[in-house]
Symmetry: C2
Subunit: 264 residues, 2 copies
């Protein structure tokens, strides 16, 4: 199972949209996909018109002992989700004094064997215990990036955090790459951001850092209002507007991700 | 002095852009404006090409005893800022056991008398001690809203939090209104969001809630790439592109805000 955390502490850059629609794209390709909503805003859960309701979700998974299998909800065909609610915010405080608090999720997921081909985790816009749990439970990091100046500012700190997790908690963690979201091609700003990221990644090649093999994905997710509309129908872009640019772009991203070499 | 917190826990909806450019618009109108960067991402500080450097900033203001006047940096003409750095994130833990931890900022600002006409505070995308400090130190809340489905989801919880702060800590707190940001007029989605917000506010009229007089501002901030470009030059939209839609819209917002009746 390929395990990927979709994270960027900058708000509103397309984390949830990427987790939902990349997940749906992989399931379009016949892959079995598990999503986890690790954001107390519960936007990934809402995206598919779901509600954690009274059943166990991400909060219970981190603080009690339900089996992972009790938390699963079906989002779409071949697409399963561990939902969250607002109470997930309380997990932050409850875990504060737990030994190895960052690795609770990893341990809870250890019971999964070959039920899924992919695991994608949607992270909140912050470096908190929830994000650290995601980074400890996966092998790869995918960073959605809006091609704006403010969007670039926090990347250095994000990579520092990944590096600390890799050194202290999860040696197999690496940065798979950066995905441009809400891209408006042709703007000077996007060109500048792309050049900046490319230069930074080229300089990192071969160095002993978790992003030495990271790439700027060739696939760019174009700004497309249908991607903002589909969650109001509780649908992925493939159910809502299968012929749209949004569907095309996320399918291309899934294909590019599936082609990339990775540690087994 | 009118004191306003610019807040919305949803990420990337235009909080920092609104704080920077509404502040600059008010100073264009000859007002004396103080901005506070209460987000550890320090994007408001970066917006004007500034850096808290070694001097005291928002972190020190909350945890040590510098005078407010030592933390001030000049952003533009008539526009002063209390900057932040990444270390502001540490204030969250340091204040956890301080009695009345939410009111520290209010107390620190009490020395200000008539140096400024407006105080605008940029909040992080979270309901944390920093946001609670902002809500306790002001009289009005301005909520930037992206006209998207996911952007609407957290509004109820935001209003609940404002209501609790008004009941328990700051009785003078009220919601001044919602400002549509990155608005792409003509999309069906924007129309639906506008109708939803209007209906919600109409139903609240006259009820005993902090948003009974809240409005959906007539001014809508149009999506405009120049608003995303100007921070890369360390300038407000008025310095970078004074004839752009962005400058027009934020000036109109400042005028609308100045015309609104408010408690003295
Ligand atoms: N390619 C796109 N084109 C148009 N709108 C988009 C696109 N990607 C995302 N959006 C919209 O932009 C907004 C921000 O995206 P999203 O909520 O996925 O970001 P996020 O990083 O998960 O935000 P948060 O930091 O709050 O978790 C949402 O309203 C979403 O519907
Ligand atoms: N009207 C607009 N038109 C185009 N781009 C905009 C507009 N308003 C904001 N932006 C851009 O959108 C991105 C998000 O805006 P901003 O950073 O101000 O939101 P925020 O709510 O402060 O985000 P965070 O939750 O991370 O603090 C930024 O890159 C900004 O430059
Ligand atoms: Mg999200
Ligand atoms: Mg901001």
């Amino acid at each position: 199972m390929r395990r990927i955390a979709i994270t960027n502490q900058k708000g509103g850059v397309g984390k949830t949209t990427t987790c939902a629609n990349l997940g749906a794209a992989l399931s379009q390709r016949g892959q079995r996909v598990l999503l986890i909503d690790l954001d107390p805003q519960a936007h990934l859960t809402t995206y598919f018109g779901l509600d954690a309701g009274a059943g166990p979700g991400a909060y219970e998974l981190l603080t009690e002992q339900p089996s992972v299998f009790e938390t699963l909800l079906k989002a779409e065909q071949n697409l399963t989700i561990i939902p969250s609610r607002l109470d997930l915010a309380a997990a932050e405080n409850e875990l504060i004094n737990t030994p190895g608090r960052e690795s609770v999720l990893r341990d809870r997921l250890a019971v999964l064997s070959d039920e899924y081909d992919w695991l994608l985790i949607d992270c909140p816009p912050a470096f908190n215990i929830l994000t650290l749990n995601a980074l400890s439970a996966v092998d790869e990091v995918l960073v959605p990036l809006q091609p704006h100046f403010l969007g670039l500012q926090g990347v250095g700190r994000l990579l520092e955090t990944v590096s600390l997790v890799q050194q202290r908690i999860n040696p197999s963690l690496c940065v798979r790459g950066f995905v441009l979201c809400m891209n408006e091609s042709g703007t000077r700003l996007a060109g500048e951001v792309i050049a900046d990221v490319r230069k930074f990644l080229d300089e990192a090649r071969g160095q002993d850092v978790p992003w030495r093999d990271a790439r700027l994905f060739d696939t760019r997710i174009r700004r497309n209002i249908k991607l903002a509309e589909c969650p109001s129908y509780g649908q992925s872009i493939f159910t809502y507007a299968p012929k749209s640019h949004g569907a095309e772009d996320y399918l291309a991203l899934a294909d590019e991700l599936m082609r990339l070499p990775h540690e087994a």
